[in-house]
């Protein structure tokens, strides 16, 4: 979606008709709309939102120009209209929302006005789109637009410790992961409906009973998953509260240093636990080989016996069975003397033949000996690696114990602070720590139940599949059950994997953008978006510093996240920002002015003269394709839009 123009007619202080044409040029992709406070920047910004989605004006006063309403002759009707022209996938569209008033009464089919959406097809025909709200949501969903059309002073919400849920929702909405969740739910429901149909058709009471049981179990799993989802939301809320409390404690004089140290220790413990988990995985991988270690003494003894036999010359035996047989068959010794068969030499040869072994057996014994030696050498190598791994694990456990002891000491020191504010916050902190732990356990318990019932479902499903479908119709429904079930399971797998892959890609892209915008590169070593969807900045010790960021820094972090997300999701949408530079220091204004035009195809900025000046304006100027001034007339209470050259 690329915005082309907006037309306002009798909207708020915009009496009469006013039009703005946005720049869409590749190199000059920025449109700047200047205005003093109260000149109408935010109302113009809201007009675009209202036109496209019918939202954003709740509690913000009358929509229709008060001046025009008052001037209307004898209560003649007044029309208010906002039209937004845009292109989507190269096709021109026009969204138009209008509302009409007569006197003080608003006359409209819907309180938010009526939307019409038309598009010009490739053949040049104008087509009215029948379901404009649905079509608009397909172009840029309502729950996604807030990430592209936003108030610059409020976007730092993403980077607030307590707003993890919003970050997760943003990723879910922009990438439309909810769509996969809905598809899974529908397919699961379809599988259950087909199962019921099969139970009804089946004459086999046992199969019918099993199908009923499977459906009951699956419904129970659905309930448990829902309960788990609610508990997770509660746990996230409790965690967010806990983080907010800890953030406050970190700012209070007496506890600030201790909280900082506590944060470092916790980060260190998390790191040690992570290393332990990696080591445990390595140890688990080494266990199959450890079977050879168990047989080590047996192998050693066998090699000893074979070595002894070698020393005694029994291996190899020296005379092969085939050689003796050949001598007896030819009735002639190698020295040329004849062998009668009953003479001493022949008897000696027959005795040796009894003691000899077959060539295959002898080769096998020799091979086994070599194999056993190699096995012995490998087992010794593995024993050494295992010893090293176990030593490293023991060192990690010791390091964790030391950190835990220091943490306990720190907690005691925090408890001993007599300052009332600290005591109150510590008490709340403990309360929420306990709550988080309780909810985490509850989630684990629910997951355990889900796993247990899922295993039972697998057993029942296998039993159903073994039960013979009696007739063709039942067999056909059975195929439907299996296909719907397979599709639901596959969608669930895709959803989990896709969400995680996207999170990792957003983290990487957002970090790249963040690095290009901030100036504390030496202080901050990493930007994180972890599995819990916590957006964070890590310092050189790997400790999170989010609660310590300034409002401007949080704004930059949020902007990096939004731009990273848009890039990964391949969303074609303009970046429309109201008051984007309000809280930023000079450095951040300049880096944003330099970088943002490169990061989005179209940028529309609503700014005050205070926000955009000096070097920041100079950096942005080469990218500005259109610029307007909002001129508010105090006498008439109306705003005029003036195009600047």
């Amino acid at each position: 979606m690329k915005l082309q123009s907006v037309l306002l007619e009798n909207f708020k202080q915009y009496a009469g008709k006013h039009r703005i044409t946005f720049s869409g040029a590749a190199r000059k992709n920025v449109t700047v709309i200047n205005g003093k406070n109260g000149a109408g920047k935010t109302n113009l910004f809201l007009a675009i939102n209202w036109c496209l989605y019918g939202e954003g004006l709740e509690g913000k006063g009358e929509i229709i120009s008060r001046r025009v309403t008052n001037e209307a002759m004898d209560g003649n009707p007044v029309d208010c209209r906002v039209e937004v022209a845009f292109t989507h996938k190269g096709e021109p569209h026009l969204a138009s929302r209008r509302i009409r008033s007569k006197g003080s009464m608003v006359h409209s089919a819907a309180p938010s006005g009526e939307l019409t959406l038309t598009r010009i097809t490739a053949s040049g025909d104008t087509e009215i789109i029948p379901n404009p709200v649905g079509a608009m949501n397909a172009i840029l969903p309502s729950n996604v637009r807030t990430y592209f059309l936003f108030d610059g002073e409020k976007i730092d919400d993403f980077a607030r410790p307590e707003n993890r849920r919003e970050v997760r929702d943003a990723v879910w909405n922009v990438l439309n992961i909810e769509l996969l969740e809905r598809a899974e739910r529908h397919l699961d429901r379809a599988a259950r409906a087909f199962s019921k149909e099969m139970a009804r058709l089946s004459q086999d009471s046992e199969v019918s009973h099993l199908v009923d049981e499977e459906n009951r179990l699956r419904e129970r799993i659905t309930d448990l998953k829902e309960e788990k989802g609610k508990t997770q939301a509660e746990e996230e809320a409790a965690r967010d509260r806990l983080q907010a409390i800890e953030g406050k404690l970190a700012q209070l004089g007496d506890s600030a240093d201790l909280m900082l140290e506590r944060k470092r220790l916790r980060a260190q413990m998390d790191d040690l636990r992570g290393q332990q988990a990696q080591l445990d995985a390595q140890l688990r991988g080494a266990i199959p080989d450890a079977a050879s270690l168990a047989a080590h003494s047996g192998i050693n003894a066998a090699v000893g016996v074979l070595d002894e036999k070698r020393k005694r010359g029994e291996i190899p035996s020296g005379i092969r069975e085939t050689f003796i047989k050949d001598l007896l068959k030819s009735a002639k010794c190698i020295c040329g003397r004849p062998l009668s068969g009953s003479d001493d030499a022949s008897r000696e040869l027959r005795e040796r033949l009894k003691a000899s072994v077959t060539a295959e057996l002898e080769d096998t014994v020799t091979d086994i000996h070599a194999e056993l030696r190699s096995l012995l050498s490998r087992a010794e190598g593995q024993r050494e690696s295992l010893r090293v791994l176990l030593q490293r694990r023991s060192d990690l456990v010791d390091a964790e114990d030391t950190a835990a002891a220091r943490l306990d000491d720190l907690e005691r020191r925090l408890d001993s602070i007599e300052e009332l504010d600290v005591q109150v916050l510590r008490s709340k902190q403990k309360e929420f720590q306990a709550e988080v732990m309780r909810l985490t356990n509850e989630i684990g318990h629910l997951q355990g139940q889900i796993d247990e019932i899922s295993s039972r479902v697998d057993e029942v499903r296998n039993a159903i599949q073994k039960g013979e479908a009696k007739d063709e119709q039942t067999r056909a429904v059975q195929v439907q059950v299996e296909l719907a079930r397979a599709a639901a399971e596959r969608v669930a797998e895709i959803q989990a994997d896709f969400a995680d892959q996207m999170r990792v890609r957003i983290r990487s892209k957002a970090k790249e953008i963040f690095d290009s915008l901030v100036w504390k590169g030496g202080q901050w070593t990493d930007m994180d978006l972890n599995e819990e969807y916590e957006l964070n900045i890590l310092d050189r010790w790997g400790a999170p510093v989010l609660p310590e960021l300034s409002a401007g820094e949080r704004q930059v972090l949020s902007l990096s996240f939004i731009l990273g997300m848009a890039e990964v999701a391949k969303r074609e949408a303009p970046l429309v920002m109201d008051t984007p530079f309000g809280r930023l220091s000079t450095h951040h204004r300049e880096t944003i002015a330099r970088q943002v035009p490169k990061l989005s195809e179209q940028v529309i900025l609503f700014v005050t003269d205070e926000e955009l000046h000096g070097e920041a304006r100079a950096l942005l100027t080469p990218r500005i394709g259109a610029e307007y001034e909002l001129d508010f007339d105090d006498k008439s209470g109306t705003t005029r839009i003036v195009k600047e050259d």
Binding site: G134, N137, A138, P141, L175, N176, I177, L179, L180, R182, A183, R185, H186, L187, R189, A190, A193, F194, A476, V479, Q480, L483, A484, A486, A487, R490, V491, I494, D497, F498, A569, K570
Partner: protein, 55 residues
Amino acid sequence: MALDLIEGYLEDIGDPRVRRIIERVLRLEEEHSSYKTPPLHDKVLAIVREEASKS
């Protein structure tokens, strides 16, 4: 989500009927912005029936 973002996953699905069911249900969901049970449920049932009959 544009279907092309998960195209790789769909290609990995061995059973073409399962793949087609998922593609069609996702397109259906894309056309509807929320979980509207009765009409979508019937359409999902119809998709599965149709693909099952192709076996």
